[in-house]
């Protein structure tokens, strides 16, 4: 399974795991990971870690040298409505990126974080998907 997941990460990270249709990107955001430094990277699989430690940035140039970054892409399948979030932690080095890990969250683990009002202030143009509905109510509990 890990092999197939790696293949998917490499070539088709935008395929819906439910209907294999190509998903559309509904949100893309770059974050800095101030706690993770070059030579001292510790991998984390749990979404709570990212919810509490990510700091949104506009451009890669804003991330200090030697600090890890994290790119989040939120997908939505136009056919079945399935949503997924791809999170990839990487070290920006000049024009290159050294990817440490890529994670998929398909059960809405990061929804409250991604569509919180704090995130909204950072990205005013971003609108949450309508089907999220009341999930947005728990957003303020995160990201302080």
């Amino acid at each position: 399974m890990a092999f197939f997941r790696k293949l998917r990460e490499k070539f088709h990270d935008d395929w819906c795991s439910e209907c294999t249709n190509e998903m559309e990107i509904i949100r893309r955001q770059l974050y800095a990971m101030p706690e993770q430094r070059v030579g001292h990277y510790v991998s984390h699989d749990e979404p709570e870690y990212y919810i509490t430690h990510l700091v949104p940035v506009e451009r890669k140039a804003e991330i200090p040298t030697g600090m890890y970054a994290c790119g989040i892409i939120a997908y939505r399948c136009p056919q079945c409505g399935h949503r997924a979030v791809k999170l990839s932690a990487f070290l920006p080095v000049r024009d290159e990126e050294k990817v440490e890990q890529a994670l998929y969250f398909e059960k809405g683990e990061l929804d409250a974080f991604l569509w919180s009002p704090e995130q909204g202030r950072e990205m005013p143009a971003v609108k949450p998907p309508a089907e999220l509905g009341s999930k947005r109510a728990i957003k303020t509990a995160y990201y302080n």
């Binding site: 070059v38 030579g39 040298t65 030697g66 080095v93 000049r94 290159e96 050294k98």
Partner: protein, 195 residues
Amino acid sequence: METMEKIKKTNILYLLLNIFGPFAVMVLAVVLGVMLPEQVGLILSIVGFGLAVLWWSFLGRKFYDKTKARTLSALEAEGFVPNHTFNADGCTVVVDLVHGQVALLFRWNPTKAYVRPASALSNVYVDDGRGGAGFLEGSSRVSFLFTVEGMKIRVNTFTSNKRWRMDSDYILTGISKADLMAETLIAAGAQAVAK
């Protein structure tokens, strides 16, 4: 806190003791082994030989690490703030951003820490070791370099006995570490000038 002593990368006596000290112990053990009764002599020879091999393989390095740690603690006790420490194979660079100072410790002279204002460092740059052309392009060494008191010091952040592609994880990590240290040294230099 600042030291005025001239920077010496190698303490010749320490280097020679490291190379020939264990050899002398080994020879002494063998000589004693020949002179002493059979079984005791054999055991003594094996112990002497074993100690020499252990020293060359890892005890020497352990001794260096302990001495370095002691030297750094002594520095800290004098008020040096180690904000960034980079341990390379031949040299350790410690940057104090509070006082704008840099401490240098060398592999073959571990009992001395040379503390200088960071503004004394010049020509700080990163060498990614890029070589070769086309698909052979790559590097086997990444380092940051600086000049202090006319002496060029190279600190390796990555070395290998083979050439790696420039986009390999090893090279990228090495470049990132070297970039970070070069930026830190330049920032400490600016801090020292501002004081």
